[in-house]
């Protein structure tokens, strides 16, 4: 099958959507499909062989984070050329209702379109303002996928209709097979906690964990907090109380290998996010690596943890409850062991083998419908000339 995937964000910057597109493309290529990805980027930049850059991206504030997107006539021309050259059987757009190359591709293509919605925060005002413009475009999407129930309910409330939920894929084997590192390894007297994410983005919730640390240290004085993620380390360190500062190590931006080793080593992975998360891929990675998960009770996180939850949850932004949950986990070896077993089992549902099969089923269903629609259109015009076209 010839598949054209459009990613609205540049591969130069790490991000959930980009990783999803990369892994999906590589999975389908390995299965023998022809895949081309259109994404922002420079012609002369370094990028995978299947990626076609559509020009330099500009930073735009969107959905609470800075997103690098690209817009304008040059991008539109390149998008059309990519569609012509690719002659795709199916065009798969990601985040189609952002001001991006995905929207341009949706406008330009005449092929069956599948779209994946990642975000749980569509700008409702922008959506309403642009609705007469967007609505006919959105009607061209034959199959809608949402990566979580949270993303699906956003689609339902903002665009009407429905979407099928197919979760983000994770290379679970990569995390399951990771080896622990002695320096990060937790021990009963010196447990280690991991935090992953931008340290200066409030919705990632480092401040909640920092507040909880005081209480956690009171119960387990040997606890160490390992913080992995980009951002201003000095400023973040200054915000910590002296005791917490002494117990905290900032690792900066870590590689995928380091991340998997960290998650395999620690006594618990803490996800204190306060909102804006539509999925929670790190939770799946942590579960696959066998780290007990302590997470805030965001809808998306609860969905990822499953029923019964393969982790411990606490009320969003409640530092006291977070501290209690962590202390309970550190005190209760049986709970910890149970989560270490339940995690990898739950994570298997998000493995790329499972997820890509489901996405391929969407492609096939949409293609079948599109072929029938084409055949029907000819007949409908012939038999129902009354319809004024």
């Amino acid at each position: 099958m010839k598949i054209g995937i459009v990613c609205p964000y540049s591969f130069d910057v790490p991000g959930g959507v980009q990783f999803h597109v990369r892994d999906l493309a590589e999975h389908f290529i390995a299965e023998g499909h022809t895949v081309s990805v259109l994404a922002p980027g420079d012609e002369d930049g370094r990028h995978p062989h299947y990626l076609v850059p559509c020009g330099r991206a500009v930073p735009v504030r969107y959905n609470g984070s800075v997103a690098r997107v690209n817009i304008g006539p040059v991008t539109a021309t390149r998008t059309s050329r990519w569609l012509d050259d690719g002659d795709f059987d199916i065009v798969h757009l990601h985040e189609p209702v952002t001001p991006s190359v995905s929207l341009l591709a949706l406008r330009a293509t005449d092929r069956p379109v599948v779209a994946t919605f990642h975000t749980s925060l569509l700008r409702s005002r922008a959506m309403q303002a642009a609705s007469p413009l967007l609505q006919p475009l959105i009607e061209r999407i034959l199959g809608r996928i949402a990566v979580s129930e949270a993303a699906r309910s956003t689609v339902t409330s903002h665009l009407g209709g429905d979407a099928v939920v197919i979760p983000n894929g994770v290379r679970t084997r990569f995390f399951r097979d990771a080896e622990a590192r002695a320096e990060w390894q937790g021990a009963p007297e010196a447990p280690t906690l991991a935090f992953l994410g931008r340290i200066d983005e409030p919705r990632k919730g480092l401040h909640v964990l920092a507040e909880a640390m005081t209480q956690i240290l009171a119960a387990h004085p040997g606890t160490r907090l390992l913080v992995a993620g980009p951002g201003d380390v000095e400023a973040a360190r200054d915000r910590l109380s002296p005791a917490v500062r002494a117990a905290t190590t900032f690792l900066g931006l870590v590689s995928e290998e380091e991340k998997s080793a960290l998650l395999t080593s620690v006594s618990a992975y803490v996800a204190p996010h306060t909102g804006g998360e539509s999925f929670g891929i790190v939770l799946v990675e942590a579960m696959a690596a066998g780290a007990p998960v302590v997470a805030s009770d965001l809808t998306a996180f609860i969905g990822v943890l499953g029923t019964p939850p393969a982790g411990v949850v606490f009320p969003v932004a409640d530092a006291g409850a977070l501290a209690e949950a962590v202390v309970r986990l550190l005190d209760d070896g049986r709970l910890s062991d149970r989560l270490r077993l339940a995690g990898p089992r739950r994570a298997a549902a998000f493995d790329w083998d499972t997820v890509a099969t489901q996405i391929m089923a969407v492609y096939e269903t949409v293609l079948h419908a599109a072929d029938s629609a084409q055949a029907d259109s000819v007949w409908s015009r012939f038999f129902r000339g009354g319809r004024s076209t």
Binding site: E139, A361, V366, D371, A373, D376, S377, S380
Partner: protein, 191 residues
Amino acid sequence: MSGLAWVVLLVVVLAVGWYLTYSAARLDRLHARAEGALTALDAQLVRRAEATLELANSGELDAASSLILAAAASESLERQTEHLVDGDLLDGVHFGGRESVESDLTAALTTALTPDVVAQVRAAGQIGAADLERIEAAAIRVQLARRFHNNAVTDVRRVREKGVVRLFRLAGHAPLPETVEFDDTVPGVRR
């Protein structure tokens, strides 16, 4: 009337004409999309019923389960055949009130294919295992096709409610499509 007034009138007439043509084409595309989606749903339902019938006849299930499955699958296939005969083109494509039959087949599958039975048939590795796989694949696609169809119907109905479409009868004689609602749970899956 002055020359300018004529020009303005001409522009307005052209704009209205363009808008009507555009709306009619959009509506036609939406109707085709809904009908295409229904055809896809129909095809997957046939596959689900055929695979179920094969599993029932494979002799790998107990006699009672086999009978329940065979009855429900035959019912579904029979209705589908009837539908093909009377689904004349003037009437458009419609689901023909088969919801209850398909819900019954889903219920029969859920009853017969408990996780334990599924594991047992899979372990046997006979023809039944292949049938199970086909049933599951078709059942997943039934879910997808039904969602996509209902989305298309929602879009058609929204556009058809617009004043312009109603006033100029842009929908012609095309029947108003309806969403298809039935239980399409995939059998034998622990969730």
